[in-house]
C-alpha cells in the first residue's frame, strides 16, 4: 500500500466529508465557528488514529461474526477517554462541544475506516490512514466553520485560545468590525448551504482538472468544448 496515496485519499480523493459524505451530524452541528470545527476535528482525529491502530493490531484475532461489537466497544472506550480528557483540561470547549464528543462513537467515519481499512491493513498503514482521514475531516470542518463564522459574525477563530492555549490568541481576528451579522449562517440551515456549495466547488474543480489533464495528454485532439 502506497503511503502517499493513503494520505492523498484522506485529504482529498476520499475526504470523509467532501467525498464519502460521512459524519454529517458533527459536520452540521458544530461548525458554527472555526474553533468549534477545529476542536471537533482534532478530537475525532485522535479517536480515529487510536482506533485504527488497535483494530489493525487485533485484526487476526477477531472473527468476522463479532467484529462490529468489538469495534464499537473499542471506539466507545477511546471516545470516553477523549470526552473525559476534554472535560478535565479544556472545560470551556467541552461546554460547547460536549454533546457531540460522545457522539463520535457513532460517527460513521470512525467505524467506516475500521471496517474498510484498519481491519485489513497493517498497523502503520492504518495509523497513517487515521491521520489522513482525520486531517481531512478536521480541514473540512474548520473550513465550513470559518466560512460560517466569517459571514455570520464577521470574525475568524474566535475563542481559539480556549482550545489551543493563550499562545494562539493571535488567531482570533475580527475581519469586519461593526458587522451586524447574518444570523442564519450560525443556524443549522447554513451548515447544509455551505456544505452543498463547497461540494459543488470541489466537483467543479475536479471536472476542470480532469478536462485539463485530457487536453494535455492528447494535444492533437480537439480542445475540450465548453458547455455551450
Amino acid at each position: 500500500m502506497n503511503y502517499r496515496q493513503i494520505m492523498k485519499d484522506g485529504l482529498w480523493d476520499q475526504n470523509v466529508v467532501f467525498s464519502q459524505m460521512l459524519g454529517m451530524c458533527p459536520t452540521m452541528a458544530v461548525t458554527t465557528s472555526g474553533t468549534n470545527g477545529l476542536g471537533m476535528g482534532l478530537a475525532t482525529m485522535a479517536v480515529l488514529i487510536c482506533s485504527n491502530m488497535i483494530i489493525a493490531a487485533i485484526r487476526d484475532f477477531v472473527s468476522p461474526q463479532v467484529r462490529i461489537p468489538v469495534y464499537i466497544v473499542l471506539i466507545a472506550t477511546l471516545v470516553t477517554i477523549v470526552d473525559m480528557s476534554l472535560n478535565a483540561w479544556m472545560h470551556d470547549l467541552y461546554r460547547v462541544l460536549g454533546l457531540f464528543i460522545a457522539l463520535i462513537v457513532v460517527n460513521c467515519a470512525v467505524l467506516g475506516r475500521a471496517e474498510a481499512f484498519a481491519s485489513r491493513n497493517s498497523v502503520i498503514a492504518s495509523a497513517l490512514d487515521g491521520l489522513g482521514m482525520g486531517l481531512g475531516f478536521t480541514i473540512a470542518l474548520t473550513l465550513i466553520g470559518l466560512i460560517r463564522e466569517l459571514i455570520g459574525a464577521g470574525t475568524l477563530f474566535s475563542q481559539a485560545s480556549l482550545l489551543l492555549g493563550p499562545n494562539f490568541a493571535f488567531l482570533e481576528t475580527t475581519v469586519l468590525p461593526n458587522y451586524g451579522g447574518v444570523l442564519m449562517m450560525i443556524l443549522p440551515p447554513a451548515g447544509f448551504l455551505v456544505l452543498g456549495l463547497l461540494l459543488a466547488a470541489k466537483r467543479l474543480y475536479e471536472r476542470h482538472a480532469a478536462r485539463t489533464a485530457e487536453t494535455v495528454s492528447q494535444p492533437a485532439a480537439t480542445p475540450a468544448v465548453g458547455c455551450h
Binding site: 451586524g180 444570523l183 442564519m184 443556524l187 455551450h228
Partner: protein, 365 residues
C-alpha cells in the same frame, strides 16, 4: 362544436390546446399585482420604488448567472417572467424602506439558492420568494421589522428622488419619527406587556384602515382591497382556481372566529386577521404558485387550509407576529405527501384504484 372547428389533426387523443404559456401566466400575475404595487409606491415614495427595482434586478441577475453557469441559454428562461415575478413578490413583502442590500441579498438568494440550485422553474420544492423572505427575516431581524408609517409621495415631508436614494443607501434618518408597528406586531407586543386587546386596540388603527391601506406594512399588505382585487381578476381569468385562496382564508378565519368568541381580550378577531399581514397576498399570489402546490383540487383544499391554519397558529402562539411565509413553506414541504395520498380518481375505477363494474358502478368482486 362543429367538426370544422378542428383545423389541425391532434397528434393523439383529443387535446384541448390552451393559449397560456409560462410567460403569459407570469405576466398576467404581474399585471394583477400592478395596482397594489403602484398604490404602495405612492404611499411609501421613492425609497420603496428603488427597493422594488433593486430586488427585481437582483432576482433577474441571479437567474441569468445560474443559467450561464449551467450552460443553458439565458435569454428564453430569463424572459419567461418567472424570475421577475419572484423578485416582485419578494419586494412587496419587504419593509418598504429597507436598505439596498436587503433587496440585493434577497433577490439573489431567491433565484440562485431557492430556485436554480434545484434545477430552475418547475423543480423548486419551495416558493423562492418566501424562502428568501424567511432567510432575510431570520438573518436580519432588526431591519426586517422596521415598518414605517405611510408618507404619500405627494406629501410635503416625503423624501424626494435624491433623499430616497440616500435612505436606500444609508438607512432611515430620524427613525423614531417615521417608524410604526403593523397591527399584528402591535397586538403581540401589547399582549406581552399585559394589556389586553380590548384596551390596546382602541387606540390602534381599526380594520377599516386596511381597505384604504393607509397603515404601516409592506407594499403588498397595506392595500388589502387592491391585492384581493388582483387575486379575483386572476380567478376570473382562470390563472388560478378558487380552491387554495378560499381554503387558506377559511383556514385563518375559522380558528380566529372561534378563539375570538371564546376570549376577545386575548385573541384578535377574524377580520383583523384576514386584512392584516400577508394573508391576502399569500392566499391569492403566493400559495397558488403552480410549482409548489398540490395537483388535485382536493389536495389544493388541504394545502390551502393547512397554510391558513398554520398562519393562524404562528401568528397567535409563535415567536413572530406574522406567519404566512413560514406557513407556506411548511405546506410546500408537505406538498409531495399530499400528492401521494390524494390522487384523482381514474375513470372506471374507485378512489383506491380498484376497477368498477360498468353496469353497476360497484367494485367487481
Amino acid at each position: 362544436m362543429t367538426p370544422a372547428f378542428i383545423t389541425t389533426a391532434p397528434p393523439t387523443a383529443p387535446h384541448a390546446i390552451t393559449a397560456n404559456s409560462v410567460s403569459t401566466v407570469m405576466l398576467t400575475v404581474a399585471a394583477a399585482l400592478l395596482p397594489a404595487t403602484l398604490y404602495g409606491f405612492w404611499l411609501y415614495g421613492w425609497p420603496s420604488i428603488f427597493l422594488w427595482l433593486i430586488t427585481v434586478l437582483a432576482a433577474l441577475f441571479g437567474e441569468a448567472l445560474c443559467l450561464k453557469l449551467a450552460g443553458r441559454q439565458a435569454l428564453p428562461a430569463l424572459f419567461d417572467g418567472s424570475a421577475l415575478l419572484t423578485g416582485w413578490l419578494l419586494a412587496i413583502s419587504l419593509p418598504p424602506w429597507s436598505p439596498w442590500w436587503i433587496g440585493l441579498l434577497g433577490g439573489l438568494f431567491a433565484t440562485i439558492l431557492a430556485k436554480q440550485v434545484f434545477g430552475g422553474l418547475g423543480y423548486n420544492l419551495f416558493n423562492p420568494a418566501m424562502v428568501a423572505r424567511v432567510f432575510l427575516l431570520i438573518s436580519f431581524p432588526v431591519q426586517m421589522t422596521i415598518w414605517i408609517a405611510p408618507l404619500p409621495i405627494t406629501a410635503a415631508t416625503a423624501p424626494g428622488f435624491h433623499d430616497g436614494l440616500l435612505i436606500l443607501l444609508h438607512g432611515i434618518p430620524k427613525l423614531d419619527a417615521v417608524a410604526s408597528a403593523s397591527l399584528l406586531g402591535f397586538a403581540k407586543t401589547e399582549l406581552s406587556r399585559g394589556i389586553d386587546l380590548v384596551h390596546s386596540l382602541v387606540a390602534a388603527t381599526a380594520p377599516a384602515n386596511a381597505f384604504s391601506g393607509v397603515r404601516a406594512g409592506s407594499l403588498g399588505e397595506t392595500a388589502t382591497i387592491l391585492i384581493a382585487g388582483g387575486g379575483l381578476a386572476l380567478l376570473f381569468l382562470r390563472i388560478i382556481s378558487w380552491h387554495i385562496p378560499v381554503a387558506m382564508l377559511v383556514g385563518i378565519a375559522l380558528p380566529a372566529t372561534i378563539a375570538n368568541s371564546i376570549d376577545p381580550a386575548r385573541y384578535l378577531d377574524a377580520t383583523s386577521h384576514l386584512l392584516s399581514g400577508g394573508a391576502m397576498l399569500g392566499a391569492f399570489f403566493i400559495a397558488t404558485d403552480y410549482v409548489t402546490s398540490p395537483n388535485t383540487k382536493a389536495g389544493q383544499l388541504v394545502f390551502g387550509a393547512g397554510c391558513g391554519f398554520l398562519t393562524y397558529v404562528i401568528r397567535t402562539w409563535g415567536g413572530y407576529p406574522e406567519g404566512v411565509a413560514f406557513a407556506v413553506l411548511l405546506m410546500n414541504a408537505l406538498t409531495p405527501v399530499i400528492d401521494r395520498y390524494i390522487r384523482p380518481r381514474i375513470l372506471g375505477r374507485n378512489w383506491r384504484g380498484a376497477p368498477l363494474d360498468p353496469a353497476t358502478q360497484k367494485v367487481k368482486s
